[in-house]
């Protein structure tokens, strides 16, 4: 049962462009929404995260936009660089973080062309 839907499956962006990855969820009990970045041959690593009490969080070139009413959140990568080429996973947590159990989206393979 897929509870976090992620799109697109793959994305090609030119260097300097904006990369946008979208996620949607159904369970209104979700209260923590992280994004993980995975480079080839490595495990995923936390990139940025947001809680539903804010609509946007920015860290450097990475921004999460959160729309609680639409049950959607997205990752924006500004001024995309070839070094950003990786697989990105959105995720959600449903239990207030008590167990830190996450439900992941299906992933987006981003390629930034020089």
């Amino acid at each position: 049962q897929q509870q976090v839907k992620q799109s697109p499956q793959s994305l090609i962006v030119q260097k300097g462009g904006i990369s946008i990855i979208n996620c949607a969820y159904e369970n209104t009990a979700f209260d923590y929404f992280p994004w993980y970045q995975q480079f080839p041959g490595k495990g995923p690593a936390l990139l940025i995260a947001i809680r539903p009490d804010v609509s946007e969080k920015k860290e450097g070139r990475f921004t999460i936009s959160f729309n609680k009413s639409a049950k959607q959140f997205s990752l924006h990568i500004m001024d995309s660089q070839p070094g950003d080429s990786a697989t990105y996973f959105c995720a959600a947590s449903t239990d207030g973080g008590a167990t830190n159990k996450l439900i992941f989206g299906t992933g987006t393979l981003l390629a930034v062309q020089p």
């Binding site: 049962q1 992620q6 499956q9 923590y32 992280p34 041959g41 490595k42 495990g43 995923p44 690593a45 936390l46 995260a49 996973f89 947590s93 207030g96 973080g97 008590a98 167990t99 830190n100 159990k101 996450l102 439900i103 992941f104 989206g105 299906t106 992933g107």
Partner: protein, 115 residues
């Protein structure tokens, strides 16, 4: 620096074999997790443990079991390996709870092929 170590990067086994995947973390984390990663399906939780000898089923526990005898070590066991268990397996650990947004720390994965 944070470290989650999976014992093998690549493993090839035969159908019907009992397979052990080992994971060790050096961060004194309470939580440990086993995921499998398949193209188009993302990361799916197999089992997790929030304390020594404690375990809970994830979304796809069938055909798997786990063992956590020590806080730093979490083992995934394929009781009788089948070809549909060919996958990338990822171990992760974290502190209990998400106060201050404690992340899950992942190992680099074990690519398991069942022939």
């Amino acid at each position: 620096d944070v470290k989650v170590t999976q014992s093998s990067r690549y493993l090839v086994k035969r159908t019907g074999e009992k397979v052990f995947l080992e994971c060790v973390q050096d961060m004194d984390h309470e939580n440990m997790f086993w995921y499998r990663q398949d193209p188009g399906l993302g990361l799916r939780l197999i089992y997790f443990s929030y304390d020594v000898k404690m375990k809970e089923k994830g979304d796809i526990p069938e055909g798997y079991s786990v063992s956590r005898e020590k806080k730093e070590r979490f083992s995934l066991i394929l009781e009788s390996a089948s070809t549909n268990q060919t996958s990338m397996y990822l171990c992760a650990s974290s502190f209990l709870g998400q106060i201050n947004n404690q992340p899950q720390h992942f190992g680099d994965g074990t690519r398991l092929s069942i022939l």
